[in-house]
């Protein structure tokens, strides 16, 4: 092992924190435009502190983390004024020196342990690999240490779990095992890249708790997420990244309580849990011309942007501490901010605040009070599910009840949310409602006629199938990759009797309805962004003119800001077309935002059902209370600002004359 000169250098820079990043640029040569993935990023992080890097995919947050373990890949160029860990200059590191650092002093936790742990090896072997590589314990002590690590991260029955493979563990347990493998050698710095994405809300809370304990034990934590709500409870400091740059940074309470950059505001507004149904999550689509290379990268999407923003990169503006929000955060009160110099934003107009932001609940037509909201439920139910059950046979021969005696009603134009954790049976219900799976018992009626259950024949149903459409979590998997958008939507339109000649116009109309340009007709699914794909999926679902759309986790794979746009789109389409939605999600925030009524499922059965406001305000079942308690909320006063409530905000800036 290379001897660590850390101690000597630490004497030379006594005041330097554990991690110093100053002026970091990362460029990928493979990128034809050669736009840096990370541009001029600077931050510091000390032991026992947590810095969160927040931004959408492609914002450079993951690349930044990979840079800190020297794993940006062979085609990247990393330059920095200073990149130092424990006093050692990382820019001068060779591969053998990196290896002494990786795992031993800096641990990396990725998202989704199902693929981030080697699926062919036992979790015990994966954890022991860190210990073995760095010779942390003698060979004879490997097993005992592995078990104690599993115990430490809260895995029950460690002896048994260590011998199991990732796919045999639940999502929460394998994420813990992944964390155990990253912290096995007791690293001083833990990089957690979306460690809770795709986890159920209660599991997410447990994993965040585990990371918090590492921080309390003195490790520095760099937390990376696209979701401000997730980092709110854990981060001491937050840096918001957009297009490779840190656009706002500062103590967590300041950034969350007094956000100054328009992008930070957009991210906060996108958190659905804090907004009631009807409120828009995404800012009104802004279609400014793209900024010039030297301009503010956010100018194209920013409601405040003007010519100056397009042409000149804003200077970093220090934001004075607002006393009312600062008091809440002891980490700031001790006067040691760790990100740069304190709260700062990269914006020409960072002080545009409350006066320019007006409460305007009904100003925007896109969603508002849809037909489902508060409407008396007098019409006949569109979908009647009565006492359905479904059992599946396990490979070992035993059978397992996936759905037990579930009943629900859905009225025309209404949104019914089904919420539950993975394995609660919500997707099985969706498949039965879609008529893709027959229930073992019970009946499903659609528009007053039998739809599922015994005695329903497929020929009767086939002609009516176009009235129920579906949107899935992963649209890419539901598209034929060789088809162009025109054909994907056109085929669906054909089932509604659109003639071949009229198909192009109909596809263009549908694309416009979902907020896409008709120019995209010639694209293939792989050439679309995640948000565009989901919009195409929605257009395809709308094409046959359905009465009901079953949405199975439609926004779970999307960034918060894209998720907000899709949720707004669905709300708008519902009020415009009066289509009913059966909305399935594990995310209570999303469910709260979209639903009129909700059904809470656990282990295949309904544990609670009711009006959404009622269930969220006064949950009757213990399980519902447990779920609600685990929902992360941004801390810092933005959850329900007394002066704004849950209303929509419209930014009415008059850009200064150029």
């Amino acid at each position: 092992m290379v001897p660590r000169p850390a101690n000597q250098e630490a004497l030379t820079f006594p005041a330097e924190p554990l991690l110093v990043v100053d002026g970091l640029d990362v460029t990928f040569a493979a990128d034809p435009r050669s736009v840096p993935a990370v541009r001029d990023v600077s931050f510091r992080l000390d032991r026992g502190r947590c810095l969160a890097l927040v931004g959408e995919s492609g914002s450079g947050k993951s690349v930044t983390a990979r840079t800190l373990v020297g794993l940006t890949g062979g085609r990247s160029t990393v330059t920095a004024r200073r990149l130092a860990f424990a006093g050692e200059d990382l820019t001068a590191f060779t591969e053998p020196r990196w290896r002494t650092l990786r795992g031993r002093r800096i641990g990396l936790v990725l998202q989704d342990a199902l693929v981030s742990l080697d699926p062919l090896r036992t979790v015990g072997a994966e954890i022991a690999e860190t210990l073995r590589t760095h010779r942390v314990v003698p060979r004879a002590g490997l097993e005992a240490r592995t078990l104690s690590l599993l115990t430490e991260v809260g895995v029950p029955e460690p002896e048994q779990r260590a011998r199991q493979y990732p796919h045999q563990l639940s999502g929460g347990l394998r994420q813990r095992a992944l964390i155990a493998s990253a912290i096995a050698a007791g690293p001083d710095l833990v990089l957690a890249d979306e460690p809770t994405t795709a986890l159920d809300v209660t599991v997410q809370a447990q994993v965040l708790d585990l990371l918090r304990r590492r921080k309390q034990d003195g490790a520095a934590l760099l937390l990376i997420s696209h979701d401000l709500a997730v980092v709110g409870g854990l981060a001491d400091d937050i840096a918001v990244m957009y297009a490779g740059r840190i656009v706002e940074e500062g103590p967590a309470a300041q950034v969350l309580g007094d956000p100054r950059h328009p992008y930070t505001r957009a991210l906060l507004d996108a958190v659905p849990v804090t907004h009631a149904k009807g409120a828009r999550l995404a800012p009104a689509a802004v279609r400014h011309p793209a900024p010039t290379p030297s301009g503010c990268p956010y100018a194209g999407r920013c409601p405040r942007s003007d010519l100056r923003c397009r042409d000149q990169l804003p200077e970093r503006v220090v934001i004075p501490t607002r006393p009312d929000v600062a008091a809440a955060e002891p980490g700031v009160a001790d006067g040691r901010p760790t990100v740069g110099t304190g709260h700062a934003a990269l914006c020409w107009y960072p002080t545009v605040d409350a006066p320019a932001v007006l409460d305007a609940v009904d100003d925007r037509p896109a969603s508002g009070a849809g037909p489902g909201v508060g409407r008396p439920v007098t019409a006949a139910a569109l979908l009647e599910v009565d006492g359905i059950s479904k059992r599946f046979r396990s490979p070992d021969g035993t059978s397992r009840a996936a759905v037990r005696d579930v009943s629900l009603r859905l009225h025309p134009g209404e949104t019914l949310g089904i919420v539950g954790e993975s394995g609660s049976g919500k997707t099985t219900v969706a498949r039965i409602v879609l008529g893709l799976l027959e229930p073992d018992g019970g009946t499903v009626r659609f528009a007053g006629r039998p739809w599922g259950g015994s005695g329903v024949r497929e020929p009767d149903r086939r002609g009516r199938r176009r009235h129920i459409q579906a949107i899935y979590q992963d649209p890419l998997g539901s598209f034929d990759p060789r088809y162009r958008v025109e054909r994907i939507i056109g085929e669906a339109a054909a089932t509604a009797g659109v003639t071949r000649a009229g198909r192009g116009a109909r596809v263009a109309e549908l694309l416009e309805q979902v907020g896409l340009s008709a120019d995209l007709m010639g694209r293939r699914p792989l050439e679309l962004s995640g948000g565009q794909r989901q919009r195409v999926a929605i257009a395809r679902a709308l094409a046959p003119g359905p009465d009901l759309i079953v949405c199975d986790e439609p926004v779970s794979a999307l960034d918060v800001s894209v998720q907000a746009q899709i949720l707004d789109l669905l709300a708008g389409l519902q009020s415009e077309l009066g289509v009913a939605l059966l909305f399935i999600s594990h995310d209570l925030g999303v469910i709260h935002h979209v639903s009129d009524r909700i059904v809470v499922m656990k282990d295949g059965a309904v544990v609670e059902t009711g009006e959404v406001a009622q269930v969220f305000a006064h949950p009757a079942a213990g399980y519902t209370r447990e779920l609600l308690a685990a929902v992360p909320r941004p801390v810092g006063g933005r959850t329900a600002p007394p002066d704004r409530g849950a209303s929509t905000r419209v930014v009415v800036t008059t850009p200064p004359a150029p």
Binding site: R66, V69, L71, E95, R99, T100, L101, R102, G103, R104, I106, G107, L108, L110, D112, V115, S116, L117, D118, P119, L120, R121, E129, T130, T133, H134, Y165, H167, Q168, L178, S181, A182, P395, D396, G397
Partner: protein, 311 residues
Amino acid sequence: MTALGLVRAVGIRLAAAVAVLFGAATVAFAALQLVPGNPVAVLLGPATTAPPAVREQIRVDFGFNRPVVTQYLIYLGHLARGDLGQSYQLQRPVSSLIGSQLGSTAQLALAAIGLAVVIAVMSAVATAGRPRLTAIASTWELVAVSTPSFWLGIVLLTFFSFRWRIFPVAGSQSFSSLVLPALTLALPIAGVLAQVLREGLEAALDQPFVVTARARGLSRTAVRLRHALRHAAVSLVTLAGWLTGTLLGGAVLVEVVFARPGIGALTLQAVSNKDMPVVIGVVLLSAGVFVVLSTLVDLAYLAIDPRLRKG
């Protein structure tokens, strides 16, 4: 897996094996009936002057005078008892003929496949994910795949046996006589295996767990050997199993070039002499070998990928 489940799985396997062998035997019998020519003439050889009475006696002895269905059932009955019949030409039981040749063929086939796997693993592990090295390695692999094995054998013989006299020209007595034929068979196979293995390795190296493994401090080579290789091994095992089957059925050309005894040489002789019992014996041997190998390959899948294990 429960004991009952294991018994069921084994039972299904055995039934499938019997079905495959039965099918192969039936096809071989049908082919025998369709081959033009009189078996008695084949039995007696081209230069015979046997009188008609002798010919008739042979017809009765071998059952050629009975209806085809009866002949088929008798043939199946013999097979069920493990009796493959007598060679027309050599007047010896087919099973002992095959048995005497199988050892030499198995030796060659296993040596060749073993060598091929070693070469393929080295070539693929060293070059996967490294574009420049991959370009060099794929060139030799392509050349190896496209080279006819008999020509390669002759070239190797020319240099290593005739010019440098390192290895013997022919025979199967010593280990050194195995080197050149094994290498001749192994090089083209190694080329194919290396290409498949490299593709599998590159797919595995793109997976997120590779980042996790490297973030633990593992070297690139360690990640390849301890993680990625196992992921790529599934396609390697599939292909290697199939190739071993074809080799055990007899590597005719290479056995002839190197004048080695073996199933290939036996088959060649039997086919050119229309010695149908021997041909049928070789067909059944090949079918049996494939049944055994596909079972081994399936077991290897379970050993490699725990996700395929049930229960």
